[in-house]
Each structure stands twice: as C-alpha cells, then as structure tokens.
C-alpha cells in the first residue's frame, strides 16, 4: 500500500506545524521522519493516521483519496510513544481489541480471534505474557505488545510515533534491530517518527529530514548522511564544526589555507562544515592546514574527542579512534595542525 501526501498544511494557532508537505511512501517501504522536536514530524504522522485533520492538502492511500476518511475506517496501525495499552485489559485482550470491536458481520469467531492473537504474540515473541496486564511488563515488552495490537487489524499502513523514545538506550537498540527484521518479514508499508538520527539511519529504507514544518531532504540513509542537501541536514545528522570561510579562485579558504574546491569561483562569505571524525591532526603543516592548540581531551569509550582552539574561531572538535589517538600521543596545550579530509561549503545568502 503506497501513501501519497499532497500539499499538506496544518496550523495550530499561530504555529505552522506543516507547511505544504509533499511526499510519497512506496509500498512495503520503511520510512523514517526525522527532525528536532517541533519540526512537524509527529503532526505529519497523525495527519496520515487521521488523528489530525490537515487544513489543506490530500492524503492518498494506494491512489485513493483518504483525506476525509475517519481514522477508524482508515485501517492504519498506530503505535504510540508511551504505548497507550489498555491498562485494565490483559495482553491478550489488548491485542484482541481491534477484532472484538468489529461489527458482527465481519467479526471473527472466538476461536479465530484466539488463533490470530496467539499468532501475533508469537510474531512479537511474547506469547508467554498473554495473561499479564500492561503494568506487569517492561517498556520494551509493552511496545512490542502495542505493535502486535496494531498489526491485529491487518492495517494497510503501520505508523509509529517515536516507538522507542521512552526506552533506555540498550533496549532501544535491540528493539530497533528487531523492528527492522520484523519489517523485512511482514513488509507492511511503515512510517516511523524519530528525533534520533542514529535510529533513522540504522532502521529506515529512506529518511525524510524535516525542519520547521518543511521537508529538508528525502533520501536513503547514505544519501542524506553523505550528501546533505542543506546546512540543517548536515548539522542534524551528527556533530559538526563550522568554519567561516571565503571562496577564492574556486577554493574555499580558512585562515589562508585552501581546504576544498567549490563550484562557485569567488565568494566573500561562506561556511565550511566539517565533521569531527573527518579531521586529521598533524604536527607539521600540510598544504591545507589550520593552526590550533589542543585545549581538552575527553575519552569516550571507543573514541577520543579533542578540543582544539583556533585563533579567531570557535573551538574545533576532533574525533579520533583510540588507536590513532595513541599513535599521535597528543597532549593538552600542544600546538597542532588541523587537516580536514572532507568538507562541505555552503555559500551565505
């Protein structure tokens, strides 16, 4: 089931939550809506679900206009950040709910309901919890039950609102891999919302980066990470260093050093973006080096972060692997040269 989003706008009072959004979700795809809080990603998901009405625009399911279809007829599975399990029902009854509320004509028999619920509980590997109440489950288990409940109605699309947002880091990582495997198994068109770039890049087929009610970029995880379409996407998908730069003869220069080539031959004002792990340190100046002094060193598990003070600039962060850090044997207070391996230039204005 494909989803087509056409010119969707939504305003809450003075706040423009969605500003003329156009997007297509291919059938069977797992799509991530990624952005900071307040960027409109959850609003967009709720508009697709029918929990929110757009001020303008259309939602098409499989080419059919679903904009005015009530949420209960839209056949979407919705998974909430805080699970929203029915607290007074057992796990079994939670999953069976969508089948039990069907009109008599289409309601499956009790035996059929039982069979289907157990099959779903097996799918999420929690069949042994059928008689428990939601309060007796861990966060990760609750979210898997919520997913089973959403799948019980055989939804045409599955929508997940920050599904791992309320879980701790370890469970979160486990569960997102599990979700990816599950999706490969059942192939239902899915859209999930997240503010965690790592999660989006790891799980999704395609990532939609949103900011201030607009789509900044749509692409595969590799595309958005390697070729960010805007400074915002660059900043949002990982840490960055900003350099004030000017372009001269087709080269972006920082403090006189030629860092990278540009399409534009000359510009007085440009910004250079370099990721911390794309900078090498050396004790001798290479062709395109920026001088600095190491001011802080922080060990972060497998990597080491060095803060380098650069004259007339904000401090620059450099990330090295433990091995490279050991090889270099860098010390605080030491004068070093920064050599950006990769850099992206955005012209001002």
């Amino acid at each position: 089931m494909s989803i087509e989003i056409k010119n969707i706008s939504k305003q809450f009072g003075e706040f423009k939550a969605l500003d003329n959004i156009n997007l297509e979700v291919a059938s069977g795809e797992l799509l991530a809506l990624l952005g900071p809080s307040g960027c409109g990603k959850t609003s967009l998901l709720r508009v697709i679900a029918g929990l929110e009405t757009p001020d303008d625009g259309q939602i098409l399911f499989h080419g059919e206009d679903a904009t005015d279809t009530h949420v209960r007829e839209r056949q979407v599975g919705f998974v909430f950040q805080h699970y929203a399990l029915f607290r007074h029902m057992t796990v079994f009854e939670n999953v069976a709910f969508g089948l039990r509320v069907r009109p008599k004509k289409t309601r499956p028999s009790e035996a059929e309901i039982k069979k289907r619920v157990h099959r779903l509980l097996e799918l999420v590997q929690l069949d042994w919890l059928a008689d428990r109440f939601p309060a007796q489950l861990s966060g990760g288990q609750r979210q898997r039950i919520a997913l089973a409940r959403a799948l019980a109605v055989e939804p045409r699309v599955l929508l997940l609102d920050e599904p791992f947002g309320a879980l701790d880091t370890k469970v979160r990582k486990e569960l997102r891999r599990w979700l990816r495997r599950l999706h490969d198994e059942i192939h239902v068109t899915s859209v999930f919302v997240t503010h965690d770039q790592e999660e989006a890049l790891e799980v999704a087929d395609r990532v939609v980066v949103m900011n201030k009610g607009k789509i900044e970029q749509v692409g595969t995880p590799a595309e958005v990470y390697d070729t960010p379409a805007s400074p915002f996407v660059y900043q949002f998908l990982g840490d960055i260093n900003l350099f004030h730069s000017r372009v001269h003869d087709g080269w972006a220069e920082v403090a006189g050093a030629r860092i990278t080539q540009t399409d534009e031959p000359n510009a007085a004002n440009a910004t250079l973006y370099v990721r911390p792990h794309e900078i090498d340190l050396s004790r001798v100046a290479a062709g395109s080096s920026i001088a600095g002094v190491v001011s802080h060193i922080r060990l972060l598990g497998s990597t080491v972060r060095l803060e380098v003070e650069v004259a007339e600039h904000d401090a620059v962060e450099v990330e090295l692997t433990r091995e490279r850090y050991a090889e270099g044997d860098w010390k605080v207070g030491e004068a070093v040269w920064l050599n950006p391996r990769e850099a992206k230039v955005y012209l001002a204005g």
Partner: protein
C-alpha cells in the same frame, strides 16, 4: 503506611517525647470533643427512652415520608450528576475548546455559593413572584414548595462532586488510549464503554458516594425551596429541625441518627474504595518490571 513511617522515622527528624505526646493528646482530645462525642450523643439521645420509642419515631408517617422524599431526591439527583459529571469531565479532560476554563469555574460554582443563596435563586426563578412563576402557575406546575424544587436544589449543590473527582483522573490518564481504540476501529460508544469507563470506574464510584452523602444531607438550599410542609416537602434534615424545634428530642435524634448512620456507611464505603484504588496502584507499581 503512616504508622510504619512513624516507627521508622529516625531520631534526627523527630521531636522530643513530651512534645510528641502533648501534641498527640491534644489532637485526640479535639477529635473526641468535636467528632466522637457529638456522634455518640446523637445515638445516646435517640435511644435514651428505649428502642420502642426510637422505632416509633422512625415509622411515624411524617418521618417515613421524609425518609422517602430524601431517598427520592437522591435517587434522581445522583444519577443526573453521574451523567453530567462524566460528560463534563470527558469534555474537559479529553478535548480542547474555547471557554474550557469558564466551564471548569461554572462546575465549581455550587461549592463557592452558599446553599441558601442557591435555594433563593430557584425561588427567584420559579417562585410565585419569580420570572417564570406566573407561567408555571398558569400551567399548574409546582416547582417551589414541591418535589421538583427539592430535586433541583439537590442537583445544584451536588453538581461538582462527580466531575471534580473525574477531571484530574482523566487528565492524568490522557487520551492516548482512546486514540488507540479509534485507530483500531472502535466507535465512540465502544471506546467509552470498553476503554474510558473501566479506567475511571473507581474514581466515578468515589464521586457518586460523596454526591449521594451530600444529596441526602443537604439542608440550606432545600430548606429555602421546600416550604417545610410536613409529610409532603420535608426531607430528613428538615424533619430533624422541625422535631427539635417542637422539643421532640427523641424523634429529632432518632431521625438524626439515621443521617449519622448514612454518614458512617458513606465513610466506610469511601474508605473501601480508597483502599481498593490504593491496592490497584500498589499492585501496578509492584508489578512494573522497569
């Protein structure tokens, strides 16, 4: 809970013994003087001249009619408030709309207004000299000094109980479960009966118990609209006053003992509900594996 906390309290956070004992004695003395003694007096005075007179005072026609009227008024007012309360709480807790804070204030109004004033408002509206008085008289409908007025006054004074109890509960629960039910294809009614109501049932029961106690015990507002017609528009609290003013102490205290009993039953029921809710909450906390 409180006693456990007390015994476990360390020497650092507690007072010296004589302060503790003085304060405790003072508190117990006050409770005894202002709560236990009056309650005891009611039953003592009622039974002073023996069971026979006590029972006679209760089955006497005027008393019976007062009991019946009180029960009738409560039987109408409490279900009405149950429906209003649930509807108002549902609207306030689950939806955002213009004028929401005005509605919340309005619901609280009966708590803020003196019951006597509430009664007077109804007299002003439906009384013979009131706004709709002439029209009502032309159509031979009696509101003031009749049962409808008593019911109206009772509904007014008990209005906030159910809603007040439910609004914070429903607000805390949010509306995500209802939304989940909708995405699963449940209709509005199905959502209400299967999801919302089970989640609020204990709070609802608590509100109903309180509303019922107030409905049966209300004096001020009912007194203004009732007209004190013996055997017709006298509720139990009004009947107590009349008997007392006539120096019929046994009768007055016998009827008062009924109201006191009602209070005791209400308290017991309320404690039971509280205990049950606390148990459910504790079970949920204990079972949470997080």
């Amino acid at each position: 809970m409180a006693t456990i906390a007390l015994t476990q309290r360390s020497i650092v956070t507690t007072e010296v013994p004589w302060v503790r004992y003085t304060l405790t004695t003072l508190a117990l003395l006050l409770i005894g003087l202002f709560l236990v003694l009056p309650l005891f007096t009611v039953f003592y005075e009622a039974l002073k001249k023996g069971w026979g007179l006590y029972l006679t005072a209760l089955v006497e026609p005027d008393a019976l009619s007062a009991i019946k009227l009180t029960l009738t008024a409560a039987a109408i007012a409490v279900p009405l408030n149950l429906v209003f309360g649930v509807a108002a709480a549902w609207a306030i807790a689950k939806f955002d709309f213009r004028g929401k804070s005005v509605l919340i204030t309005l619901i609280d109004l009966p708590f803020a207004v003196s019951p006597v004033v509430a009664g007077l408002i109804y007299v002003l509206m439906f009384g013979a000299q009131g706004w709709w008085g002439p029209w009502l008289m032309d159509h031979d409908i009696k509101v003031i000094f009749a049962i409808p007025g008593i019911v109206l006054a009772t509904v007014f004074v008990t209005f906030p109980f159910v809603a007040r109890e439910l609004i914070p509960l429903m607000e805390a629960q949010g509306s995500e479960e209802e939304q989940a039910a909708m995405t699963l294809g449940a209709s509005g009614w199905q959502t209400f009966w299967r999801v919302t109501l089970p989640n609020i049932k204990w709070g609802l029961l608590y509100g109903v118990i309180l509303a019922n106690a107030r409905a049966m015990g209300e004096f001020g507002a009912v007194s203004v609209v009732s007209g004190h017609i013996r055997g017709e528009t006298n509720t139990l609290p009004l009947h107590v006053e009349i008997l007392y003013n006539e120096y019929n102490f046994v009768g007055a205290f016998a009827c008062a003992s009924l109201l006191a009993l009602l209070a005791l039953v209400t308290l017991a029921a309320k404690s039971l509900v509280e205990w049950r809710t606390e148990q459910l909450a504790a079970a949920a906390r204990r079972d949470a594996v997080e």
